[in-house]
Symmetry: C2
Subunit: 207 residues, 2 copies
DNA sequence: ATATTTACAATCATTCATGTATGTTTGTAT
DNA sequence: ATACAAACATACATGAATGATTGTAAATAT
């Protein structure tokens, strides 16, 4: 029975893959560990060996991916800050392009956004998502603050409102795309959306 | 025990109110009818008398409110169509103002957006939400199509992309507002967002 | 070569939500 | 006055999911 360490790691991965599928199909609360085990070709014992409970499986899935806004800011930091708004724009578009081609990330995002309940007393997985989102907002804020200091932010936008606007649009775009079963071209719509938004945030460009 | 018809109607409302609270606190799947009954001061028997099951309670809650985009379009239809884009803009802002002051609608929306799982084989309640959203998108499309026919749509926007953009931004705005526990001024951010977006959709205004 | 630990499978007990069935009281019609 | 139906409460039966325990074969350490 006992397999080698690589075998164990593989079953762990198989469990996670199966969990992503089952969660995606039935929602998190609608998925039993029994179903996941059966899909992965193991018993619940294997799952309980690798993970404490269902919540920890969810956490493991979440820790595998990065929120799109994280990638945006990483991109900005990586490429310098001479034009913060332009970097946000460019980074956002690149993130969308990457996401549009990565089915695994799409599934995990769909689980987090559409198949996971955010309630008052949150699971630690949901809590992690929220805090990650909040941290990301803070970073966005800083980037826009830089634009403001360089006097490139249009006067009708405040720093906070601009950061919120981008955050809401990006998250809404993703959620709607996944909810509609990818019924519209993500990159196409997203690019127009982001460019229009960021455009209106540039001093002298909006109306 | 048996009360008059008005009494019965009142308990029905009390059940719905309790359900909104419990759903909001624990999520839909995390809420048992027992909890709801206890909060409402009745037993599960009363709930099963008025509703078939938990899904029907959810449906009843949903049927009480209108999606914000519905209100937007109703506003547009009600006020004529001479400037479709302007009407979308105005209507959206008004909807946000109304929502910002109606706590009950906020709770129900939060339940639908954050406390309800959208999976592959959907509950009828989730299905109703999705179809309502889709219908609303169709109406938005028609309004923007009118703008396009009047040659007032900026050339960089297609009709579909514009409708999607507005839909995503509005839904994202609401979701983020509710998820963040109303941590930012909804109307303020929303107004800038919508005005910027619609502004960029006006021929000769965007860049 | 043996002991020990790993990586599971199999079984079990418990909880919990649901649905149903039945009982009970009180309006309401006749 | 009586019969019936509405509006619940109470009790029960069921199934599903969970967490815990135990068993066990193979890998690894000694």
């Amino acid at each position: 029975m006992r397999r080698t360490k690589e075998d164990a790691a593989r079953t762990r991965e198989e469990v996670l893959t199966a969990a992503a599928e089952i969660f995606y199909e039935n929602g998190v609360s609608g998925s039993s560990l029994e179903k996941i085990a059966k899909r992965a070709g193991v018993t619940r014992g294997a799952i309980y060996w690798h993970f404490k409970d269902k919540a920890e499986v969810l956490t493991a899935l979440h820790s595998e991916i990065r929120l799109p806004q994280e990638a945006i800011v990483d991109y900005a930091i990586e490429h310098g800050h001479d034009d913060p708004l332009g970097l946000i724009e460019q980074g956002a578009v690149e993130v969308l392009q990457i996401l549009a081609e990565d089915e695994h990330q799409q599934r995990v995002f769909a689980i987090m956004i559409l198949g996971c309940e955010f309630t008052e007393h949150l699971t630690d997985a949901a809590q992690r998502i929220i805090t990650a989102n909040d941290e990301m907002f803070g970073k966005l804020q800083k980037l826009i603050e830089m634009a403001h200091e360089r006097n490139t932010l249009a006067p009708l936008w405040t720093v906070d409102a601009a950061a919120r606007g981008i955050q809401c649009s990006m998250n809404g775009l993703l959620a709607e795309w996944l909810r509609s079963d990818k019924s519209f071209p993500l990159v196409d719509v997203g690019e127009r959306l982001i460019r229009s938004l960021v455009g209106s945030m540039r001093r002298g460009e909006g109306r």
